[in-house]
Structures are given as C-alpha cells and as structure tokens.
C-alpha cells in the first residue's frame, strides 16, 4: 500500500474510473452487432430464432470484453 496523498504527476489517476462510462458503448455494440448478424441469417435462411440468439451471444461477447478490459490486471 502506498501511503500519503496520490502524486498528481503519476499518470492518469481518474482514467480507470472514468472509463466505466465507456462500458455502455460496449454493451450496446455487442447485441446490436450479433443481433444484426442473426437478423441477416434469419432473412437468408428463413428461420426466426436467430435474432434473440444473436442478441444473447452479443451480450455475452460484450460482457466478456468488458471483463477482459476493465476487470483483469494486465
């Protein structure tokens, strides 16, 4: 543990916490992208179940990416 007040010259003290606002963008991108793929496949194959599957898969990928980016120490 580093005692004392944080050094103002030490990098980006608030970048991590502010980046949390970016999570929203990721959580939108995934479902939209995979939902879109699902919709295209549904259109092409004549099925009807691939949009929800795509949205769920997109959500999973988004959550994975958010966890990987912000939840792990690299």
């Amino acid at each position: 543990m580093n005692a004392g007040p944080p050094d103002p010259d030490a990098g980006h003290p608030r970048l991590e916490e502010s980046s949390m606002w970016n999570v929203v963008s990721y959580l939108i991108s995934g479902p939209v992208m995979f939902g879109g793929i699902g919709w295209a496949l549904d259109h092409w194959l004549g099925t009807e179940f691939l949009v929800p599957v795509g949205i769920l898969a997109g959500m999973a990928v988004s959550l994975y990416l958010v966890w990987f980016r912000y939840g792990t120490q690299q």
Binding site: P8, G11, H12, L15, S18, W21, S25, I28, V61, R69
Partner: protein, 266 residues
C-alpha cells in the same frame, strides 16, 4: 401517469389540451426550410457572445487577489483543467487539450442552463444537430491523434487488447471497430441530446398542463394544476442538476477518448 391523466382530460374536454410534442422544438424565427434561422441558432450565438464576454471581462485584469468574477472563472477552469483533463489524460499530454475541453464544457453548460433560464428557456442541445456537431469535433480529434501517433495500421491493431485467446480476436476486433467508430460517438451525442430533450419536454408538460388546468378546470382540477406547478418547480431544480451533469459527462468522455488514443493500448 400524468400523460394518461392529461390525455383523459383532453378527451373529456373534447381535445382542449394539446400535450407538447417534439414539434415544439422546431422554432424558426426567420425564413423557413433548411436555411431557417431558428431559436436554437440564436440561443447558441447568444451563448457564444455571453461566454466570450464573461471570460474576457473576468480575466482581462487578472489579479493575484482575484475579484469574484475572476475567482469563479478560475475555479471553473481549474476544475476542467485538473479534475478532467489532467487526471484523465495524464500530466504529460493534457495541456494541449485543455482549451478544447474547457470550451466544450463551458459551451455545453451555458447552453444547457439556458434551458431553465428565463427568458431564453430553450436547451440548445435538444436539437440533435448541435450535439452531433460537438461529437464530430471529439470524434475527429481522438481518431486523428491516435492515427497520427502510431499510424493507421497499428491504430486498428491496437484496438484489440493484447492477451486475448486467438480464436476470439476477429470477433472482438469487429466489436471494437463498431464501438470506436459507431457506438461511442452515437451514445455521446444521443446521451446529451436525449437528456436535454426529455427534460425540457417534461417541464413543458407540467407547466402547460398546470396552466391549462388552472385556467380551464373546476375546483378539483385547479388543485391538480397547483400540484403540477409544484412538480414543475421540483423538476426544474432536478433539471439544473442534469444540465451540469451532462456537460460534465460529455467533457469527461471526450477526455477519456483522447486519453485512450494517447495510451499505448486502448
């Protein structure tokens, strides 16, 4: 809830009360069509004039012991410079982005506050074109500095965080491209627009609804109208908070995007 109440009220009175719609926001003052000079355009120009006057007037004779105006300007500037720019972009590079972030913050803040300040009472950012224009500035800035720093190929390569398992990299790459080039600017512009638009519509509803009930209603409706005015007052206070917050969030996110483009990895 209140929408339903007012809706049924309008039905009972034979369509007397018109609930405010998004059409309220298009207010051409001179001319019409795409070249119309609209109320938000005038408000925007007014805000630029006011900001320029205020900033020059309070800093022209800057003193060691500041006047009240200078103190206010310096506090605001210090807030954007230190808590937003320096703490997020980092002490090495932040200084050259302070003018951009400060101008953006002040412009959005004043225009948002105009939403509740009489006689202006029009939040400029509730017209989608203005947040889009501001977002474009941020968009071009963060892509430009990122591409200039490492080159186009490496910029796209850096979008994907290192250490991912190989099989998932293509998927994540597409996801990152969509996020960086579409979702981020879209959410940045829509967040500001949506908050200002919805807040103003809500105030319009409570104030015009209250007015209608006070003027046209019986005793019971007059009481409801008074309640509506109380709600309008409470929501105005709340709206001021939102207006500060949205100006802050917009600047904060612009700073994080710039910081991301300056970092070795996004």
């Amino acid at each position: 809830m209140s929408l339903n109440v007012l809706g049924s009220l309008a039905m009972a009175d034979g369509g007397g009360y018109q609930t405010p719609t998004s059409a309220e926001f298009y207010q051409p003052l001179w001319f019409d069509g795409p070249l119309a000079i609209t109320r938000p355009a005038v408000v925007l120009l007014l805000s630029v004039g006011l900001i320029a006057w205020w900033l020059i007037a309070t800093t022209k004779r800057a003193a060691i012991v500041p006047s009240r105006g200078q103190w206010a300007t310096e506090s605001l500037y210090g807030f954007v410079r230190n808590s937003v720019a320096r703490d997020i972009i980092g002490s090495k590079d932040f200084l050259r982005f302070v003018p951009l972030l400060f101008s953006m913050f002040v412009l959005i803040l004043v225009n948002n506050l105009f939403g509740v300040i009489p006689p202006v009472q029009y939040p400029t950012m509730s017209r989608i074109g203005i947040p889009i224009a501001l977002t474009l500035v941020v968009y071009v800035t963060y892509h430009y500095i990122g591409i200039k720093r490492v080159g186009l190929g490496a910029y796209f390569k850096n979008l994907v965080p290192s250490g991912l398992p190989g099989w998932i990299v293509p998927t994540i790459f597409i996801l990152e491209v969509i996020t960086f080039f579409i979702t981020r600017p879209l959410t940045l512009a829509l967040r500001l627009f949506g908050n200002m638009f919805a807040g103003h519509l809500l105030l319009l509803l409570f104030i015009t609804g209250g007015e209608y009930m006070m003027i046209n209603g019986g005793f019971g409706l007059k009481i409801a109208g008074a309640g509506s005015f109380v709600m309008a007052f409470v929501l105005t206070i709340f709206e001021i908070l939102i207006e500060f917050l949205q100006a802050y969030i917009f600047t904060l996110l612009a700073a994080t995007y710039i910081a991301g483009s300056l970092a070795d990895e996004h």
